[in-house]
């Protein structure tokens, strides 16, 4: 019997759900109609991220590592699908390995970035890294899967919630990744993925007062404008390296809190 194939509608990923753009708009990318997010979708995504962040940031480091490892498992089970949407199998495998690499850092960060500080007085003095909050990410265009994973994982490992704008020209891998994230144990809203026009969405994220850090990607023409907008609430601005892999990438989204505690008798 012949059957009608079920065609996929490419949507946004906000608060753990897959809505269309509130504007109803789409644009064409990679031969598909993809949702074209509006400023209100940005608003909704940031709201979802803000709501989800405390529970994710408050989860134990061990638990965050486990959940991110589970994300690697979910991508691993879809290697052929991902391979068609990015630079091939090699890129998918590197992306999976990168997720696992970062997942392992979750419970090692405090030792590397924080510590017990020597002070000239009868006090214990500790430095503890804490997530900065909601992080906005403009995903790179090159290597649509690996690039996105590279920029997504550092803020996530540290306990931040993320609103990412997928590559404008190659968004399908990001949507596929959203489906893997939805089936991992990441709580809804910790990762939100928007597709659409970067020139339209980036300034809204840059000016949003409830975004704490903004990865605007490698320096380009728009950097000065975005940095000016980000200055209004003193966002951390990161010029993310699309292929960086280092604990310092995680540190870019952490606040170091220092605690003084009197030494008892």
């Amino acid at each position: 019997m012949t059957r009608l194939p079920v065609k996929k509608t490419y949507k946004l990923f906000v608060g753990g759900a897959f809505p269309r753009s509130e504007s109803g708009r789409t644009y064409e990318a990679e031969g598909q109609n993809v949702a074209r997010a509006s400023r209100k979708d940005v608003r909704d995504a940031v709201r979802a991220a803000r709501a989800a962040q405390p529970a994710w940031g408050g989860a134990t480091a061990y638990n965050r590592g486990q959940v991110l490892y589970r994300l690697a498992e979910m991508v691993e089970s879809r290697v052929p699908e991902f391979a068609e949407l990015c630079g091939g199998r090699d890129e998918v495998e590197r992306a999976i390995d990168r997720v696992v690499w970062y997942a392992g850092w979750a419970d090692k960060l405090p030792q590397v970035l924080g510590g017990a500080n020597p002070v000239a007085g009868p006090y214990f003095n500790f430095t503890v890294p804490e997530p900065t909050g909601v992080v906005a990410v403009l995903a790179p265009d090159a290597s649509p899967l690996l690039g996105l994973v590279t920029r997504l994982l550092p803020p996530l490992v540290g306990g931040n919630a993320v609103v990412a704008v997928a590559s404008e020209t190659r968004p399908l891998a990001a949507i596929e990744l959203a489906e893997a994230i939805a089936t991992s144990d990441l709580p809804g809203g910790v990762v939100n993925l928007l597709t659409g026009f970067r020139s339209e969405l980036a300034p809204v994220l840059g000016a949003h007062m409830d975004v704490n850090a903004f990865d605007i990607g490698p320096s380009n023409g728009a950097a000065a404008e975005l940095e000016t907008l980000a200055a209004e609430n003193v966002k951390r601005v990161v010029h993310g390296n699309p292929d960086g892999q280092s604990p310092w990438e995680i540190a870019a989204y952490l606040e170091l809190k220092t605690v003084w505690h009197p030494i008892g008798q």
Binding site: M209, D210, N233
Partner: protein, 313 residues
């Protein structure tokens, strides 16, 4: 059964035989109309107008066991100047507190034009003997309350003792004296049906209510749009029949600017722009103010706002 006093001409309620006959509100149509009015798109100038109006009609409320004079004092400052960084934002209509905190609020709000409302008459349950309720109201008025928010006795209402409910409203109204305005809280979430909501609204109005108010804010089901519409229609019908203008206060569960605008649309469409003033319309809320302030600042700056930059209470 107590004897009902003389009623305003042309308005027979609450004659016991008439009340039970009020009924058969079309719940589906009511909810549909409320939902369709809520879908109105209010943008730009109209939105700013609605948001500023919402602030002007807010009864900034704190009704917790843990309320202290310090908290009420801070809330009074907020009611006078909701956004300390923006003097163009108007003051709220009133603050609403328990009677014990009325003197604190009175002192803080002297000369500001912001009124002091007190909940009284055995708030929030209303399950107290009538003399105690009356004494409660009288003492709140003596402490300096400009407005009294009383609760009806839902137990009596639901068991059909309408006269008791009515008499209490009348006696509380007498205790309010000349100066204090009376708002009657129906606690619609406990009334069960829209028919009962309409019945209770008419009963309260006949008893002398200056305002009818949806809820105490103490139970989860509060000022929903259909309930508000139901009460507004009763207010409209009383106006049509007697020419008497009764105010309406929506309270409980209104936390977002969008909901406030939806309520204002409902009033505008049911009673007209005449009712869009603090003298005839109030919104009872606490966290709503911050959301409105965030929306107003967003309209001014173009950037979405964060609660980090607004006061906590």
């Amino acid at each position: 059964m107590a004897q009902a006093p003389v009623l305003p001409p042309g308005f027979e309620l609450p004659l016991e035989p008439r009340l039970p006959r009020i009924g058969s509100i079309d719940a589906v149509a009511l909810e549909e109309r409320a939902a369709s009015l809520a879908k109105r798109s209010i943008k730009r100038d109209a939105k700013v107008f609605a948001l500023e109006l919402a602030i002007r009609t807010i009864d900034l409320t704190t009704l917790e066991g843990a309320d202290t004079p310090g908290k009420v004092a801070a809330m009074c400052s907020k009611a006078v100047r909701p956004d300390p960084t923006d003097p163009s934002i108007p003051s709220c209509a009133a603050i609403c507190v328990y009677p014990n905190l009325v003197p604190t609020a009175r002192e803080r709000l002297q000369g500001t034009g912001v009124r002091v409302a007190a909940v009284a008459s055995g708030f929030p349950s209303g399950q107290y003997p009538t003399p105690i309720k009356v004494a409660d109201v009288r003492s709140a008025v003596e402490l300096g309350a400009d407005e009294i928010d009383m609760v009806i006795d839902r137990g009596a209402f639901l068991s059909g003792r309408y006269a008791k409910v009515y008499d209490e409203v009348v006696r509380v109204k007498e205790s309010c004296g000349e100066s204090a305005h009376l708002k009657v809280i129906l606690e619609t979430g406990e009334l069960g049906t829209y028919d009962n909501v309409r019945r209770a609204t008419l009963l309260a109005i006949a008893g002398g209510a200056d305002f009818v108010k949806t809820s105490t804010g103490k139970i989860p089901s509060a000022a929903t749009l259909p309930v508000a519409l139901c009460m507004l229609e009763a207010v409209r019908d009383v106006y049509a029949e007697t020419g008497r203008r009764v105010g309406f206060k929506a309270a409980g569960g209104i936390r977002q600017a969008k909901q406030a605008v939806q309520h204002l649309v409902l009033v505008h469409e049911t009673l007209g722009p005449e009712w869009l003033t603090p003298e005839l319309y109030r919104l009872g809320a606490s966290s709503l103010v911050n959301d409105i302030l965030m929306q107003l600042r967003k309209e001014k700056t173009g950037a979405y706002q964060s609660p980090d930059y607004f006061t906590l209470d």
